[in-house]
Amino acid sequence: MTMDAKALPDLFNRYRDRFAAEKQALIELDGKVGDSDLGLTMAKGFTAAAAALEEKAPETLADGMKTAGAAIAKAAPSTMGTLMATGFLRGAKALDGVDVMDTAALADFWAAFRDGIAQRGKAQLGDKTVLDVLHPMAETIAAQAQAGASPAEASRAAAQAAKEALEATKDMEAQHGKAAAFGEKSKGIQDAGGTVACILIEETSAAFGA
């Protein structure tokens, strides 16, 4: 399938349902080396995003992503909420003038999403953050676009890369947010924010029917 502005509400309904389903798991994961808020804030943020897109159908892809980002910023002012909002707002800019999401647009979107979060959070790769999943994810889509893959193929490959990258965060030591205070103890546990990124690409891939 292809994705245009009309398809965005469905995509965010997927995100919403998945975060609702993962709520408890994310609470527990963030609770290990943090403050247990991540499950709540992601459920809240994506419920708000989906509701905003239902309320007013977006005219363009860029519009829809902007609406979603703004809704998340409002509903979830936590670290990840602010970072996710930033991602969608920056991604929206990359979609300016794009009517249908082809693989190149998808690559641009996730690259902008990653860059926005990198800039906002000022984390380095290896700091055990959402960036450690977003980066290989975005790189994979870019490579797939280069290779002429379909959006479905590209996002499936990216989901696989994200899964591996998430696994790799277990070896890292947290440098940011509440988890940083746990230092060494954060080792062995996958990054909670990275888990969120993994979920996003899985659902994106599913939306493309991959």
Partner: protein, 333 residues
């Protein structure tokens, strides 16, 4: 925990209700008590928005008023306001001349203000940012960008507010505020911790005769923890670190804030100032303006900080200009 409150989770909202009830010159927008704005915006003026966690009164919202700031995003105790709250405040205070974001150097605040600025841009509101980083104790010279923002930000509010009140354009307000920032330094000392209402117990302890030089206003670690010394010796140590930061030459002028962190009596702040005034007199540096009292607190923390703004011909009149907010009144000289 001995505090006058009802439910800890209502601490900030009820405080805000009290403030709005007492001071009709401030109000809130977007149906959200946390979106704090002046009731008297000035058309065509650069808007100035601050914000940060609660628990620091009169920071941050206390400087919203004539000749100072136009709005503040109010977070939970020691928590950033949301980008959305900042955005709502931004929209309200923008009077067509753009908005300056002026707040302290804390990562949560930075993320949310940056995001708010991006959202504001979508609404065609120009924003600029100056982040206060006056706390000498929080990072060594050369790494000033890592320093926390504490009471010295009041100087930045004063300078930015005066520049904006004189209807200077955003770029000029930014330039002057950046200059004030480059010339502002603060050193603090803490004697006791404070308690976040929803936590209910102190986040750290200090021994019965201990002080911590350089502790942050959320209890961030300082430079040294040692036995409490006579007031003059404490001031000497604090000012020595400030004097080492820039060249305060004979004939120069400064503005000073002697700030109580919460529980420290005004009497002790004046005992501090006695020694401070001696040390500046020794250097033939004259004190053009001094504010003594509570300007940036940590609820019931005992302790004090000294902030010094190294004045120049441009900054001095901006500091001297009158300003009136519900929490800060300065009569022009």
């Amino acid at each position: 925990m001995k505090k006058f409150l009802n439910k800890p989770e209502d601490f900030v909202e009820e405080m805000l209700e009290g403030i709005y009830a007492a001071h009709p010159e401030v109000t809130h927008v977007a149906d959200d008590l946390h979106c704090f704005v002046t009731a008297n915006p000035v058309p065509g003026k650069v808007g100035i928005v601050t914000g940060g966690g609660s628990g620091h009164l009169p920071l941050f919202l206390g400087y919203v008023g004539d000749g100072m700031l136009d709005g503040a995003g109010v977070g939970g105790v020691f928590q950033s306001p949301s980008s959305d709250q900042i955005l709502e405040v931004t929209k309200h205070v923008d009077q067509g001349a753009g908005v300056l974001y002026l707040y302290g150097n804390y990562s949560g605040d930075i993320m949310n203000f940056d995001l708010a600025g991006e959202l504001a841009e979508v609404d065609d509101i120009e924003t600029a940012t100056v982040v206060g980083n006056d706390d000498v104790a929080s990072s060594k010279p050369g790494e000033e960008h890592k320093r926390r923002g504490v009471a010295g930000i009041v100087f930045l509010y004063k300078v930015a507010g005066a520049a904006a009140a004189e209807m200077k354009p955003l770029a000029e307000v930014v330039r002057l505020t950046e200059k004030a920032k480059a010339r502002t330094r603060t050193m603090g000392v803490a004697l006791t911790p404070c308690i976040v209402p929803e936590v209910g117990k102190p986040s750290f302890t200090l021994g019965e005769d201990e002080m911590e030089i350089g502790m942050g206003i959320h209890g961030e670690p300082g430079i040294t923890r040692k036995t409490l010394e006579p007031a003059d010796a404490v001031v000497d140590e604090m000012l020595e670190r400030i004097f080492a930061e820039q060249d305060y030459a004979a004939g120069d002028e400064v503005a000073i804030i002697v700030n109580g962190l919460g529980a420290t009596p005004m009497e002790e702040l004046y005992i501090f100032y006695r020694r401070i005034s001696q040390l500046f007199a020794e250097r033939n540096v004259s004190v053009a303006q001094v504010w003594i009292g509570e300007f940036a607190t940590s609820m019931e923390m005992a302790g004090a900080s000294i902030s010094v703004l190294h004045l120049d011909d441009e900054l001095k009149p901006l500091i001297a200009r009158g300003a009136t907010t519900p929490f800060f009144k300065h009569i022009a000289k």
